[in-house]
Symmetry: C2
Subunit: 242 residues, 2 copies
DNA sequence: GCGCCGGCTTAACAATTGTTAAGTCCGGAA
DNA sequence: TTCCGGACTTAACAATTGTTAAGCCGGCGC
């Protein structure tokens, strides 16, 4: 039943929201266009006014903002099952970029189709609205991460959050998982330079916490990782009643 | 017509969204309970499961998160006309705190009343949804601010953003406006210590950019301020078509 | 295979920011 | 009015993070 193109989205909504089977079937029935993006390819740019939303079918994307002096901040990392530009349903103009981190498959659904579905099934609207609120909850934790945690804790937190989210869509097996960012991009996510990112990664490796090599994280010491990350996943609101 | 308790909210929605007069009248007709909070009083705490939402009628609030070691990060500053806990309509549990910065008057509206209104007027639902998306857009810029800008630019940005938002609800006259945070709280907003906040404020004063005294910002040199803030207000989506 | 290029690694040094510790100032309570 | 406490201010010093620069490594195109 969830063996559709947008299976990851359906799986995530089924386990984390109170979506009815009817609503999920209606979502699966939405008309979409599948498009592939290459590593580093822009999907949407700051200022764009898109008329469709995308579901990540496979691969990783990031949302980011670049400021005047060229510095870039990564705002969020997106994985299969995410709707990284759903906000465009009500905010006409993109205020940031959406970029493919790895080769990606995206299912594009016209705003008009989504609006029609919401009109005929208001509970689907609630599910979508909730998804954008979850987005905001993740942004809030990201602010805390960048604002208050030391760089090594910050990196541990990003890693644990990503792993939790990947687990929800069945993308983690064993002690390793994909995180296809360069060290420079990890730095842009943390708000530090690539040189400092490298320092932190080396320290984590020497301390036997984790290894990061060519886009793959391997956890060596789960206990130490948890200690560093200070991760409290309540903000992911991963059960319907939270 | 906008001389109601929630005038600031109505004014903001009228100018920044495409809300119809009928929708705005329906909003004004919502039943509410007015409650007053004192400076520093908690309105909602992390973990609460509220059954109503509030509109800020008067005063300032902040949303914040406190991490294990006691450090606190301010996530957003809220002003009259804001709906700082609208996300609870779909996320049952608070994942952060909402605190009154100054003495505040808040109008509380039951979730059930809001849900009823949305059901009978879906366009009101769109307006509310959009408002939470705007919230998320402000969070995104806040991430950029904390992650990429040097502390003096960061403070300038916070000040300019706050002023823009205060202007929308008619709370700025001349070159001064209220920002009732202590230096420690400004630091918690920027992700720096109170000592460093003090350094930055002194430098801005010596450079003739602005003065901050007892919760009031006075702009001395608008040009220098703009230069520091690197402020691009597009993310505030302050016209209906953005 | 060879060379190129992007990404990784490291080191030395500089700048920013945090920590600690003393005050000072000022408004409200007694 | 006086005193008290919270907020502000400053300085000295420490820690973290940025900057610059150089070399290395490894995959990919020729």
């Amino acid at each position: 039943m969830t063996d559709t193109t947008i299976a990851a989205l359906i799986q995530r909504l089924r386990t984390t929201t109170g979506a009815s089977d009817d609503d999920l079937r209606a979502l699966e029935a939405l008309p979409y266009t599948l498009r592939n993006y290459r590593e580093n390819q822009s999907i949407l740019r700051d200022g764009d006014r898109p008329s469709e939303c995308c579901v990540i079918v496979d691969g990783f994307c990031v949302r980011s903002k670049t400021i005047e002096d060229g510095k870039r901040q990564i705002l969020s990392i997106h994985i299969p099952g995410d709707l990284p530009d759903l906000q465009n349903l009500h905010l006409a103009t993109m205020d940031h970029d959406l970029v493919a981190l790895s080769n990606c498959a995206l299912a594009f659904i016209a705003h008009s189709a989504i609006r029609d579905l919401i009109r005929s099934r208001p509970t689907v609207g609630d599910i979508f609205w909730r998804d954008t609120l979850l987005d905001a909850a993740v942004f809030r934790e990201w602010i805390v991460n960048v604002g208050q945690r030391a760089a090594h804790n910050r990196l541990a937190h990003i890693i644990v959050e990503l792993r939790e989210r990947l687990r929800m869509v069945g993308r983690v097996t064993g002690d390793a998982f994909a995180m296809p960012l360069t060290q420079e991009q990890i730095g842009e996510a943390m708000g530090v330079t690539s040189v400092h990112t490298n320092r932190i990664l080396r320290q984590l490796r020497l301390d036997g916490v984790l290894e990061f090599h060519r886009g793959t994280v391997k956890i060596l010491n789960e206990h130490k990782l948890q200690e560093l990350a200070q991760f409290d996943g309540r903000y992911l609101h991963s059960s319907p009643s939270t």
